[in-house]
């Protein structure tokens, strides 16, 4: 069972951090939304794509020792929630860093990386991860 279309569909958002802005209330969202949860019906036709800068800081993080099946060969890995400069929190991995270097408040920037291989088909999926700004 391959779910390739599912990942193409999101690839623009995952490669370039494209979120949305509600032009009714000004809220910025990532991941993108079709409807603004604050304005609801009022936001119809007013949601506009917006590319985030890719910069932010570590809001919280953890070192994952007990991973999901597709990530079991990557453990231990650093999972974080990044507070982007534009506002939205994004969940992703921090790479190319020793866990001891990561702190809440550390500056990070986005990078495009391989995320995982899909099952036996071996399809490689890409997406965003974060690296420390040194």
């Amino acid at each position: 069972m391959s779910d390739v279309p599912r990942f193409w569909r999101e690839s623009n958002h995952r490669y370039r951090l494209v979120g949305t802005k509600c032009n009714n209330c000004g809220s910025i969202f990532f991941p993108p939304r079709d409807v603004c949860p604050k304005c609801r019906r009022e936001s119809i036709g007013k949601m506009q794509e917006l590319e985030l800068s890719g910069y932010g800081e570590v809001y919280s993080y953890t070192i994952v020792h007990d991973g999901l099946e597709p990530f079991k060969f990557q453990v231990p890995y650093i999972m974080a929630m990044i507070k982007t400069d534009e506002g939205p929190l994004i969940t992703g991995q921090i790479v190319d860093a020793d866990p001891s270097e990561v702190k809440i408040g550390s500056r990070v920037r986005v990078t495009l990386r391989r995320i995982r291989e899909e099952g036996k088909t071996g399809i490689i999926q890409y997406g965003y991860k974060f690296v420390l700004e040194k």
Partner: protein, 386 residues
């Protein structure tokens, strides 16, 4: 709306039950519940089954028909419906069944919950549990449910709101209670140091901060039939059942440590039940992770009072705020679809005065919280006896 009572309860043992299939478990719990209610299958108008992920755990969907069949109900052809709301499936199924009986559509209904989790390896089970999170924007990137709980704990400690010991003590309480419950997955008491020194799942959380993978099933019979209610020695009334939802992804919420859906469902449930939280004698929380157990206490009692309760060890069965007297998800076990129903079994035993060693003296009101993921669905049920 008619008054609805719990007239029968039943549960299997929870744990790694390699010799039992999903259908064995569901049937055992259901038959125990109708026996406890003193009724026969013919008296049951409908079946509501809670199950989270049988399609992934055992390649079996269409659970509603399966459990009716396994329980020997096929000749009767009774209505049977499966409810799925992640790990809040049990609470959600009770909610639907309660509405069906209260509305007058059915008189007597069996509500069951079942999960068979140990037929797959643990990494696979973690992935399936992650199905309650956002597959596109959380789990795709390697997030586990434990890692989200860990990031909440890390942030709250960073902000100086809590200490590691505050949430590490939640499983200690659960294990103490679980040791007194014969259907528990784990029956050993543990110490704070055990929690702190165990191997990491996602730092700072260890295996002792996390509920286990369990097999198990629980069932209750609910009814508005006066004859049945009067025949029951100590009928437990469903005073309210309320559901609320929140953003599916943790990162989209107004705050990662607020369980807004519980704030809303518990407020409404207490209002509908016409009681205050101070009246609650029995509290069952969804302690899938120690930290989220603490967050629920903080949501219900406020941050300061919750921390005082934890630090003063007031959560034990013989203290002022008995919490998770069953052993909770941590010690009694966490078969996803069954936990919301087991909370009802525990509360009914307590309110009837039949909880044995862990009995809370004179318990009259119980508040139960069953949660999907880390609070994207929240079901609060309030039960009481006259």
């Amino acid at each position: 709306m008619r008054d609805v009572y719990i007239v029968g309860v039943g549960t299997t043992k929870f744990g790694e039950l390699w010799d039992k299939s999903l259908r064995d478990l569901a049937t055992e719990a259901g038959l125990k519940a109708i026996t406890d209610a003193g009724i026969y299958s013919e008296d049951v108008n409908a079946l509501y089954g809670a199950n989270t992920s049988a399609g992934q755990f055992i390649d079996q969907e269409h659970i509603a028909s399966l459990i009716a069949d396994a329980a020997g109900l096929s000749e009767l052809g009774i209505p049977s419906i499966r409810i799925e709301a992640g790990s809040a499936s049990g609470g959600a199924a009770l909610h639907e069944a309660y509405l069906a009986v209260a509305s007058g559509k059915y008189d007597t209904v069996v509500v069951g919950g079942v999960e068979k989790m140990t037929d797959v390896p643990p990494e696979e089970a973690n992935k399936i549990i992650g199905g309650s999170l956002d597959a596109e924007w959380e789990t795709f990137f390697g997030v586990t449910e434990a890692s989200l709980a860990a990031m909440i704990a890390k942030r709250l400690e960073y902000e100086g709101k809590i200490r590691r010991e505050d949430y590490a003590s939640i499983p200690v309480v659960s294990h103490r209670h679980g040791s007194m419950n014969e259907t528990s997955h784990f029956r050993n008491a543990i110490k704070l140091e055990d929690v702190l020194k165990a191997s990491y799942v996602a730092q700072p959380l260890t295996v002792f901060d996390s509920a286990p993978l369990s097999d198990g099933a629980s069932a209750v019979v609910i009814s508005a039939n006066r004859t049945l209610i009067n025949a029951s020695e100590n009928p437990v009334k469903i005073l309210s059942s309320e559901i609320s939802t929140d953003y599916l992804s943790l990162h989209d919420r107004s705050s990662i440590h607020s369980i807004n859906a519980f704030k809303r469902s518990s407020k409404k449930a207490l209002e509908s039940a016409k009681i205050t939280k101070e009246k609650v004698d029995i509290l069952e929380l969804h302690d899938s992770y120690s930290i989220v157990g603490l967050l629920q206490l903080m949501e219900l009692y406020g941050e300061k009072e919750a921390l005082d309760l934890v630090r003063n060890e007031e959560l034990y069965w013989n203290k002022s705020r008995p919490t998770n007297t069953s052993g909770g998800l941590k010690a009694h076990g966490n078969p996803l679809g069954a936990v919301g129903i087991y909370q009802v079994v525990e509360a009914a035993l307590q309110l009837r005065g039949k909880a044995g060693q862990r009995q809370v003296k004179g318990a009259r009101y119980a508040l139960l919280h069953n949660m999907g993921g880390i609070g994207a669905t929240s079901v609060t049920t309030v039960l009481g006896v006259e």
